[in-house]
Symmetry: C2
Subunit: 336 residues, 2 copies
Amino acid sequence: MGNKRLGTQTVQLGTPPVILGTAAIVGSKEGDGPLKDYFDMVVSDSMWGKDSWEKAESKFQMETVKRALTNTGLKPYDMDYVLGGDLLNQCCGTSYGIRELQIPFLGLYGACSTMALTLSVGAMLIDGGFADKLAAVTSSHFCSAERQFRFPLEYGGQRPPTAQWTVTGSGCAILGAAGSGPRVEQVTNGKIVDMGITDANNMGAAMAPAAADTLAAHFKDTNKQPSDYDLILTGDLGSVGSSILMDMMAEKGYDISKNHNDCGLMMFDLERQDVHAGGSGCGCSAATLCGCIYQQLQKGALHRVLFAATGALMSTTLVQQGESIPGIAHAVCITA
Amino acid sequence: MGNKRLGTQTVQLGTPPVILGTAAIVGSKEGDGPLKDYFDMVVSDSMWGKDSWEKAESKFQMETVKRALTNTGLKPYDMDYVLGGDLLNQCCGTSYGIRELQIPFLGLYGACSTMALTLSVGAMLIDGGFADKLAAVTSSHFCSAERQFRFPLEYGGQRPPTAQWTVTGSGCAILGAAGSGPRVEQVTNGKIVDMGITDANNMGAAMAPAAADTLAAHFKDTNKQPSDYDLILTGDLGSVGSSILMDMMAEKGYDISKNHNDCGLMMFDLERQDVHAGGSGCGCSAATLCGCIYQQLQKGALHRVLFAATGALMSTTLVQQGESIPGIAHAVCITA
């Protein structure tokens, strides 16, 4: 078997599972951003022919899984599991999105950290011999997320500078026990970290401490340094959270300034696209990883990536009751 | 290792993980029901000293994990993971409930099937060597669930006969790689099954087809018959869903009438306690399993239990948009 636990939070996979293929489908604003050439499809209609944003998000997720299967030459019945989740209440983007595929379904919830959560749990299930192939998927949609978490879009509220722009899009990775492609070598699942942030328009600050906690645990557990990676990719801290993360990591003795980037900063041109502190949402890190990063790993432009997706486990109900926003980050080491 | 996949949906665990101990804490109505002698604690105040039902539900979950740790003589730092989820939006019962424990957290969402989902994924993580010990937990609360999914309690709406009563309570099981106690031998994770039910007051009918699908897959994958179990325990179909399940299983050629019971029927005295079609909610199957069933397995009154928790992956938003309610069921074979 060969897998083993490293330190307190990290697992070394004995036979690192392979990312056999991916797909990323995004909306028009994302398709107009710096990563536009990496997506499988850009959908100009935010409703994608449906009569609600929620149904459109479900379609994003279903079509992304289907495209990932097409890209890998596989069928739904080749999948032992689909692991998925999203931001919508009751994770309905996923459950309504994948119901027709008829694949055993493990629902996961990690808010915007969901892509790393599905990859980490999926990699363990494959390495443990419980699955031969599986799909890991998540999504978000600007319109469905805004109205659920903040304000009705019709209200036209001003967004503060710390606000991030929820990405409309979905990413799916097909993991397999054998084959060629980038491999998931190690996973570090995070603890909940809550530093008392109560502003639903400052997710970056709420999540940065969790990212720092998980990254530091990963480096400590594996005896690695930030320089062991070509890229340390958080998602989605945006500009505010990334800056806080840099400071917190420096305090912990790790300089990640040379090789850190954030999916929320990569997805949009912050100046030109008027997204304030950057992108966010499960679909942001999912589409960035399954589009740009996967292709860079495939063609050798990247070799070792630490993908640390971050989630704000925010409940609108509890925030209205004065509670703070718990953060979490899950990290996955992917090598070409 | 010795684990292997059986058929299309089932996993045989090579070294079946042990349920080292459990805890179940419930509210006063549950503590007045037929299972009252099996709970670790009955809390008479539905707010449990907090200022909201959601915060009370979080406290139920935190205290239940703590009690399960006490019952097993373990500490939070002995846990490699906590796997948890609940019915509340963003699974906030769990994230706010367990944040202070500082255990790496894998959030799962399966609606009322969550206890079986956490047990099945947890058992695979342990058998795969990725964890030595972990906690599997879930909860529900009548008041927080009613107002989120149906009507404000103050409205005092009439409940139709098919309605179920969301259990206030939480159950937690501590799984370990070694030790003595009942073992998780096999797991069968379900597919999403949606037969078009749109009535949020008829969860039993929405979930029964999923239960039938998963149970039939389990029997087929393992070459077992219903008679191989002392107890086939669904949760939470209530009286309406249980009756539908019985018919659907008979159509598939399986007679489960002799050894089937349902957590929603066990939790309450349906006549005396005015709960219409029975109990429901993540906490119903969790507290039934972690209270009554675990103790019966421990003392030899039960030997082989198939625990098939069912979930209605209902989104209030999508049901309002005319969508139907997808169901899912996850099954876990537990032997003394």
